[in-house]
Amino acid sequence: MGVAIEVQNLNAWFGKSQVLQDISMKVDANHVTAVIGPSGCGKSTYVRCLNRMHETIPDAKVHGNVQVGDIDVYGSGTAAVDVRRRIGMVFQKPNPFPTMSIYDNVAAGLKLNGYNNRRELDDIVERSLRLAALWDEVKDVLKKKSGSSLSGGQQQRLCIARALAVEPELLLMDEPASALDPISTGKIEELIFQLKERYTVVIVTHNMQQAARVADYTCFFLMGKLIEFDKTEKIFTTPSDKRTEDYITGRFG
């Protein structure tokens, strides 16, 4: 099952430049939250702070509290590797391991975690590919074809399957459909809708119609600040803040 997220006073920097300022929000379990805002507003940094990816960049710094289910993400006794295992992430550009087979791509995370029971692996690979709505398209070539031989949309679903295989509690998606055609985008969006039964999903998107279609909640970031966070229907019909209104109606700047 998905878990709730509670962020308190989250601040982030690249060197001396502060890119997130005092972000606080609570996200319910098993809901999809979209993060929108103009380029450079901090939305990608925000989701990268949720699974401690931000700190992998030299000079990057984070302050604040992030609670994901029972994980105190920045707690002193919490290992970043453990956080990233329990919080899956899918990126803008599909990044399957190019030379690995489809099967090995999905099983990679599990193998790294010491899984070697063949039967269990087979089951998890099948279940993950089914959840990612890719199983029917690849079931006959699982070990014959490499990840990079798939189409862009299939590769992205493969990456989603890979993220799901380790049974994360939270799934982060950073513009997962921005490089895909409308059919593949539709499949990813449908998949997000299905996934929220089992996971909490946070998705960064530049496409506001996509946010409106897939998200239960939407938050609007501007210059490192969280301007507004509300139900998606409220944000896209009657936003409270004029800056949100200006952004979503295209009158920004």
Binding site: F236, T237, T238, P239, T244, E245, I248, T249, G250
Partner: protein
């Protein structure tokens, strides 16, 4: 800025205002047909009603295109939804004016009677409401829209009073019941127009503030507004 989208919104607004002007003109013409027993004025109503219907289709077309091609959000989305609803209300105003003109023609075919109902005053009230509702749309002014909501109660009361008066008149002069019934239907049509003006005002409030204020509003300023109607009526 989204120039093409803004042009579309401006186009929508201009067309709706033109249609509003037509709707206002048919209310006046229908009332004149009734008050002055003027069959030519009634014919004007029938002619313009067709133009209103054409305008309704045209405005719907622009709105649907904007929804499909520009995916409007927030106040833009509310604006287009409001225009679609106001458009339908204005078309219904045209229909009500036609009904009034038909009753007027029937009255003209009969004897000249002393009908003790102040239809001109009621018409002034109703056309004030429509005008004010359209003004609130032009200027995105919710205070004006709220005033329209309150005026609706004044018109409702006029209609109720007319009903009592006309029923008494029918009892007194049963030979001419048909013509008193015409007058009664005219007051009912006018009251319906006031309802459409109310809807328009509610849609303006929805567009501007995002609030749904349909079905029930305060009466605070009713007396003040009644004075305004009296003033306009006497000029």
């Amino acid at each position: 800025m989204r120039t093409r989208f803004q042009q579309g919104l401006d186009d929508l607004k201009a067309n709706l205002l033109e249609m509003g002007g037509l709707a206002e003109s048919v209310i006046e013409a229908a009332a004149e047909g009734y008050t002055r027993r003027d069959a030519a004025a009634c014919q004007i109503v029938f002619g313009r009603e067709k133009a209103i219907n054409d305008a309704e289709r045209h405005i719907d077309g622009i709105a649907v295109d904007l929804l499909a091609m520009q995916q409007p959000m927030a106040s833009d989305l509310r604006f287009i939804l409001a225009v679609l609803k106001i458009n339908a209300d204005l078309e219904r105003v045209g229909d009500q004016a036609v009904n009034i003109a038909q009753r007027a023609l029937d009255l003209i075919s009969g004897p000249v009677l002393d009908i003790p109902v102040d239809v001109p005053r009621m018409t002034t009230a109703v056309s004030t409401m429509v005008r004010r509702a359209l003004e609130s749309f032009i200027s995105a002014n919710t205070e004006v829209a709220e005033a329209v909501l309150q005026m609706d109660n004044v018109v409702d009361r006029m209609k109720d009073e007319a009903f009592v008066t006309l029923v008494k008149q029918m009892e007194k002069d049963p030979v001419n019941i048909r013509f008193y019934l015409d007058a009664l239907l005219v007051t009912r049509n006018l009251e319906r127009i006031a309802d459409h003006a109310t809807n328009i005002a509610e849609d303006v409030i929805f567009w501007v503030r995002g609030d749904d204020v349909r079905h029930g509003q305060g009466l605070v300023k009713a007396a003040e507004l009644e004075r305004e109607i009296d003033d306009r009526h006497s000029h």
